[in-house]
């Protein structure tokens, strides 16, 4: 019996068929061109999809943990409520390894401890199709060991000449591929092509963290008193962009929205951000993180230290989105390297 390869070759023409098939049976979201930049949007035809090698501005978290979602609908007069779970069958396509790692960390958060049915219902009905990328000057997933996705996807598309080498991550993904596309075993030439592209990508990373991922929690633990926090706190505008674009920032606010009839309404969950001023403020007015320096220290520590023991992973995936989005050019790699230097200098 001939052993089948872990890759299947999907020619460009068949790829278009595949997308058509997906669009016919699911809502499909993937990178589209928006003002000259790749951004996740809905795909209704193969031409909408722009499998960009560049990172999207926002991560894919919004499709599992939307910026705004309804938890329940209520009636103020009767004090009754109806639970709401918004979920639809969806395919997320064109996710880079950092996006995939981000989703797998969100899975750990929302499935762990007291499980979150709203998130899990979405997750259950979501198919993830990964795609290759090329690092820009902010990308540093390689430094954190996340430059290749080995799990967390149903299918992964590796670009080669005139088509893709498709890796199957789950049975569900494999079935989907066979249902909507014609694939064949890859040729030696195609496999070699992939190998060369991978080499080129591996050598293209410019941003680098100067310590191993395993060392970072303890380096951060030694840095509570570092002057770095005051330095970046002095320029931070507290805009919360870093929280919004981060694939693993999952903090949320819950508030009630009342309809104009003043009887019915919805309890909604929205993204919140620990860099925003009121995030840790209690009703009496006391703010447990009064300064921007304290709030930034909290955010950076959440990525590299606070959650690492609970979830057995760093919570930074190395996508560089926070640095890319920062209005005052606070760079997560530079900050971390400065802490590493200070820590080693002791």
């Amino acid at each position: 019996m001939k052993k089948t390869h872990k890759f299947k070759y999907l020619p460009d023409k068949s790829f278009r068929q595949f997308i058509k098939g997906l669009v016919g049976s699911h809502r499909v979201y993937g990178p589209v061109e928006k003002d000259g930049h790749p951004a996740f949007g809905q795909i209704s035809a193969p031409d909408d999809l722009v499998l960009s090698e560049r990172p999207t501005h926002l991560s894919a978290k919004e499709f599992l943990f939307p910026q705004r979602e309804v938890l329940l609908r209520f009636n103020m007069r009767s004090a009754t409520h109806i639970p709401v779970i918004e979920a639809e069958r969806q395919v997320l396509i064109g996710l880079h390894p950092c996006d995939i790692k981000g989703l797998s960390l969100m899975d750990r958060v929302f499935a762990g401890g007291v499980a979150d049915p709203n998130y899990l219902a979405r997750r259950e009905h979501t198919i993830v199709i990964g795609a290759d990328c090329m690092p820009d000057e902010y990308c540093f997933c390689q430094s954190l060991g996340n430059s290749e996705a080995n799990e967390g996807f149903d299918l992964f598309l590796h670009r080669v000449s005139k088509g893709f080498l498709v890796r199957t991550g789950t049975e569900k993904g494999g079935e989907l591929l066979l249902k909507h596309a014609e694939v064949r075993e890859p040729s030696e030439k195609e496999l070699k092509d992939l190998e060369e592209r991978k080499k080129k990508r591996d050598s293209s990373f410019r941003a680098k963290i100067e310590a191993s991922p395993a060392e970072l929690p303890s380096i951060y633990a030694r840095s509570d008193e570092s002057a770095v926090w005051e330095k970046i706190g002095a320029i931070c505008t507290g805009c919360g962009s870093c929280n919004n674009v981060c694939p693993t920032c999952y903090c949320f606010d819950v508030k009630d929205e009342v309809r104009p009839n003043l009887v019915e309404g919805e309890r909604v969950r929205t993204w919140d951000g620990c860099t925003l001023e009121d995030f840790a403020k209690v009703a009496g007015g006391h703010n447990f993180r009064k300064t921007r320096a304290e709030r930034l220290r909290h955010r950076f520590n959440r990525k590299f230290r606070y959650l690492s023991s609970t979830f057995d992973s760093l919570f930074c995936v190395g996508c560089g989105r926070c640095s890319r989005a920062c209005l005052v050019k606070i760079n997560i790699v530079d900050v971390t390297n400065e802490l590493i230097h200070q820590s080693n200098g002791r």
Binding site: L71, E88, P117, A121, E124, D224, D253, V254, R267, R269
Partner: protein, 288 residues
């Protein structure tokens, strides 16, 4: 629980039906609503779900009203009582709306949440309870639980500080507490003409409490600004990090360790707390 809407197919219904959403409130029927000071109102609430009466002193509910949201509110009744008692200060939209509730009205409750006091850990000890302001509200739950089994404890002292004599809560219950053997000492920041007691912050009373070697625990519940000073006073009395308990206040939106607001380092106060032993938060820069 199973009337989900906007679910797009049957399998989704099937999948979520068995899962209990932690975000869905239960009804609480207000049986008593009583203004007890200028800013505080006392409620006795019958919960629609009996299991909500299974709580420890120090735990809290997410108390809400449709249209006004939710906030973490301490329990002031003691385990074993048939009603949940709350004492709520009006400081914002939600709490002002709660103040408009009267007998027969309904509020929403989720919980109880958090780690409360474990009476077995405290038994056999002398205990100094230090309450400031509405810190007396959760403290009352613990005091009542301890006094109900007072033979298991040593000398009990309550030091309770308020801004003014009018703001003292549960004054009418204190004679009973004294009869049960607790030394109740009150102090106010600002005395009025009728005030005969102590004037000054709570720490002015701590040095006067007699402490037997290594057999005394301290419990602190009060406004954030109070903790550092009370800890210093208790340390001066010889109490160590294993002997000081405290309940920490934080902003909370979920109660189940997800929303992030109550996080101190790797600690989620809503689950790991709000009750902590001093030793558990030593070294966490933002704890106090």
């Amino acid at each position: 629980m199973n009337s989900y809407i906007k679910a797009t197919d049957d399998s989704l219904h099937a999948m979520t039906r068995g899962m209990e959403s932690p975000y869905l409130p239960f009804l609480g029927m207000v049986e008593r609503s009583m203004r007890v000071s200028e800013k505080e109102r006392f409620f006795s609430v019958a919960p629609s779900n009996e299991s909500m009466l299974d709580y420890r002193p120090g735990q809290f509910f997410m108390v809400g009203l449709p249209g006004y949201g939710e906030a973490p509110i301490s329990i002031t009744s003691a385990p074993g009582e048939k009603r949940i008692e709350l004492c709520i200060r009006a400081v914002g939209n939600l709490t002002n709306a709660l103040h408009r509730l009267h007998k027969g009205d309904r509020m929403w409750l989720r919980g109880p949440f958090g780690r409360g006091f474990v009476l077995d850990e405290l038994s056999g000890k002398d205990i100094i309870f230090v309450a400031g302001g509405i810190g007396i509200v959760p403290m009352r739950s613990l005091l009542k639980a301890v006094l109900a089994k007072k033979e298991r404890f040593g000398k009990l002292t309550l030091i309770y500080g308020s801004k003014t004599p009018e703001e003292i809560l549960f004054a009418e219950e204190m004679d009973g507490w004294r009869r049960d053997g607790m030394d109740v000492q009150l102090t106010v920041d600002k005395a009025d003409a009728g005030w005969k007691g102590n004037t000054g912050v709570v720490t002015t009373l701590i040095p006067r409490v007699g402490v037997k070697d290594r057999n005394t625990l301290g419990v602190i519940i009060g406004p954030p600004v109070m903790y550092r000073f009370v800890i210093l006073s208790l340390k001066a009395k010889g109490l160590g990090p294993e002997e000081i308990y405290m309940s920490l206040e934080r902003r909370m939106k979920c109660g189940v360790g997800k929303c992030g607001h109550c996080q101190i380092s790797s600690v989620y106060v809503c689950q790991c707390g709000p009750v902590f032993k001093m030793s558990e938060i030593t070294g966490l820069p933002e704890a106090l």
